[in-house]
């Protein structure tokens, strides 16, 4: 089992062993959703259920961002009526949820992934194509 790392330790001292990319799941259409299939490279590092829970939470957050409903229509209509100048003053709902997602990922990294020698990269930094998980070298296995 990997020795415990803090997020700071990881970033400063550990070397990258490999990276795993969780691809998008398009079976529900073009909405942003990631595959929950557990990659084999992570088998020795993290609990399957924990991983799936993280990905599922991310998927739910993205679904919330892209949800079509009264609130999003209202925002869209209001924006149209103001010739979209309203977005100079306020953030879109999508942007607010993206901030929430960034915070969630940071929190997950600190609490769950860094101690196991892993690091999640926010998908927005990869153009919402993949969830990149960096696997750091396990110093205890040397």
């Amino acid at each position: 089992m990997a020795e415990t790392h803090s997020l700071q330790d990881l970033r400063q001292q550990a070397a990258i062993a490999s990276k795993v990319f969780i691809q998008r799941d398009y079976t529900s259409g073009t909405i942003c959703k990631f595959q929950t299939k557990f990659p084999s490279e992570l088998e020795t590092r993290i609990d399957k259920q924990q991983f799936e829970e993280t990905i599922q939470t991310l998927n739910n957050l993205y679904a919330e961002a892209e949800k079509l409903g009264g609130k999003s229509y209202l925002e869209g209509c209001l924006a149209c009526l103001t010739a979209y100048t309203i977005f100079l003053c306020m953030e879109t709902h999508y942007e607010k949820v993206l901030k929430k997602i960034t915070k969630y990922i940071q929190e997950q990294n600190e609490k769950v992934y860094a101690p196991l020698g892993l690091l999640l990269t926010d998908p927005i930094e990869r153009g919402l194509r993949v969830v990149e998980i960096t696997i750091y070298e396990d110093r205890s296995s040397r």
Binding site: Y26, A79, Y94
Partner: protein, 542 residues
């Protein structure tokens, strides 16, 4: 990793000054950051420090602007005063609101990011290659792998996802690669020259609202110009209202210099000629108006059926293809489709044009929310990691392209660049040479590298810059491909070392003497890179 490892890696940030950065050179110990738009790999133009993004060819866009402004200007100047005084001032007011809305939507459609998908990072691309290899299975030499596609079932329809060789990604459904802008665009509709940009997921609603409001504006102006002419003709006769030619324009400009009474009369007469001038303008615009209304009808149909122009032209969801062929993206009813297209949530830009490029980040550019993933030490490892990958790729391609070259020899076409950029020991932003509107790389051999491998050019230029800064290395490996010396191992390896370690030790000061013994061969690194090298050999043989 040997040299430079004892030096504080923070120095990595000192030396990396972008040669193409317009901000003035500061002292070597200050950090200079490049904005990501400067190193954007697509063929787009950026203005206002990355706030505005357009296609390369913008001539027709300016024509659109001029046509709208001139026509509206003529209307407001010469028809509105009469209409306001004789009918109602609401007419110019409504006209004004419509005009501003049209311009707003046009500018919004033209200047915003249509939904460009950023290109894959080298790690991602390598990972995809591995998966593709695993799927296709081992192949003998000369075997041509099948075109790269992935099938996915969406709402009961089988959709093929194609692999984009330029962006190194599997395109999401409905995305397409625009050859004019050289970008993959999400929910790609079409590239509109009138708007000077692609129309995609993020600006489709602005485009639609633009053509809708422009149609209203055209009809509005046309109707009130006719009203104006008719009202005037009731007073003075129809023919005299129309007979004056637009050639009297210069005289109209002199009107304010005469006395008030005569001025008012002459102004009225000028208005007659202006209204005829506007009329003429509208006859010219009439042809455009037909195109406009056709366009509007077509896009209204597309919106209500939730299709893109691309899909409609290809007949992707046409029942002619098969009885069970239907559009899996449609919400089922017209109202929901329209609401979703026009009032749905607006996704943010994925390409972070105004973010700052981390000095270590190789191309392609990744989106960053401003948070750096790596601290300086990690920058070192990460960069070396990626440069190993880039270098392996480069060597593989060169080996494939130039059979005479020994694979162990120094293959540094970029070395020629070193000559062209003397005295530059700084390294960040060499990738800016690939930026839009930037000059092509000075070396023709660099230009011959595939444009889909911007990372290579970057690494190559890094190498050239590095080797230029280090006179010691210079002797060993500033060899152009023609001069291939097939030297004994140490010099090429030191070149590789130099290539992979461009940053940390190589500030403005030359590094300590290189020990050929303390070398590494990137090919003998971890299997990740062996796999990517193998995959890329196959790629280059296709």
């Amino acid at each position: 990793m040997h040299f430079g490892v004892d030096e504080p890696v923070r120095e990595c940030q000192y030396s990396q000054v972008c040669t193409r950065n317009s901000s003035p050179m500061e002292t070597p110990h200050k950090k200079i950051y490049t904005r990501k738009w400067r190193v954007f790999p697509g063929r787009n133009k950026f203005y206002c420090d990355g706030r505005i993004m357009m296609a390369k060819q913008t001539g027709v866009f300016y024509l659109t602007m001029v046509l709208i402004m001139v026509t509206s200007g003529l209307f407001f100047a010469f028809d509105c005063p009469f209409l306001a005084s004789n009918l109602t001032p609401a007419i110019p007011a409504i006209g004004g609101v419509l005009f501003f809305f049209v311009m707003g939507m046009l500018l919004r459609a033209s200047f915003s990011d249509p939904g460009v998908l950023p290109r894959a990072t080298p790690d991602e691309a390598a990972d995809l290659e591995r998966h593709i290899d695993a799927t296709n299975g081992p192949s003998g030499p000369g075997y041509r792998p099948p075109p790269r596609t992935r099938e996915v079932v969406i709402n009961g329809q089988t959709v093929k996802l194609k692999y984009c060789f330029t962006c190194k990604i599997f395109r999401p459904p409905r995305a397409s690669h625009c050859s004019l802008c050289d970008n993959c665009v999400d929910r790609f509709d079409h590239h509109c020259p009138w708007v000077g940009n692609c129309v995609g997921r993020r600006n489709y609603r602005f485009f639609y609202l633009f053509i809708l409001s422009l149609s209203f504006l055209t009809v509005f102006i046309f109707a009130f110009v006719i009203t104006h002419v008719i009202l005037r003709s009731n007073r003075t006769g129809f023919l005299s209202a129309l007979k004056d030619s637009p050639a009297r324009y210069p005289l109209a400009l002199q009107a304010p210099s005469r006395n008030a009474g005569r001025r008012a009369r002459e102004w009225e007469l000028e208005c007659d000629s202006r209204s005829s001038g506007t009329f003429c303008a509208f006859c010219a615009v009439g042809a455009d108006g037909d195109t406009l209304s056709l366009s509007l009808c077509f896009h209204t149909y597309l919106i209500s059926s939730n299709q893109t122009t691309n899909e409609d032209i290809k007949g992707s969801w046409s029942t002619k293809r098969g009885k069970d062929n239907y559009n899996p993206y449609s919400y089922g009813n017209i109202l929901t489709n329209c609401c979703a297209a026009l009032c749905g949530p607006l996704p943010p830009s994925l390409i972070d044009r105004r973010g700052f490029l981390q000095p270590d980040t190789p191309q392609p550019v990744c989106h960053s929310n401003g948070t750096s993933i790596y601290t300086p030490t990690q920058l070192h490892a990460h960069m070396c990691d990626q440069h190993q990958c880039i270098q392996s790729t480069k060597f593989v391609l060169q080996a494939a392209a130039t059979p005479l070259l020994h694979t162990d020899s120094v293959i540094l076409p970029a070395a020629a660049v070193g000559h062209a950029l003397p005295g530059k020991s700084s390294l960040v932003g060499p990738c800016a040479s690939l930026g839009p509107g930037g000059q092509p790389p000075p070396s023709s051999s660099l230009a011959s590298l595939p444009s889909s491998m911007p990372g290579l050019t970057c690494a190559g230029e890094l190498l050239a810059l590095r080797s230029d800064a280090d006179p010691h290395c210079h002797h060993h490996h500033l060899a152009s491909p023609e001069e291939t010396p097939s030297p004994p191992s140490p010099p090429p390896h030191s070149a590789l070392v130099v290539a992979a370690m461009p940053c940390p030790a190589h500030g403005p000061h030359p590094p300590p003497h290189l020990h050929p013994a303390q070398l590494y061969n990137p090919a003998s690194q971890d299997s990740l890179h062996e796999d990517s090298v193998r995959g890329l050999i196959k790629l280059s043989s296709v």
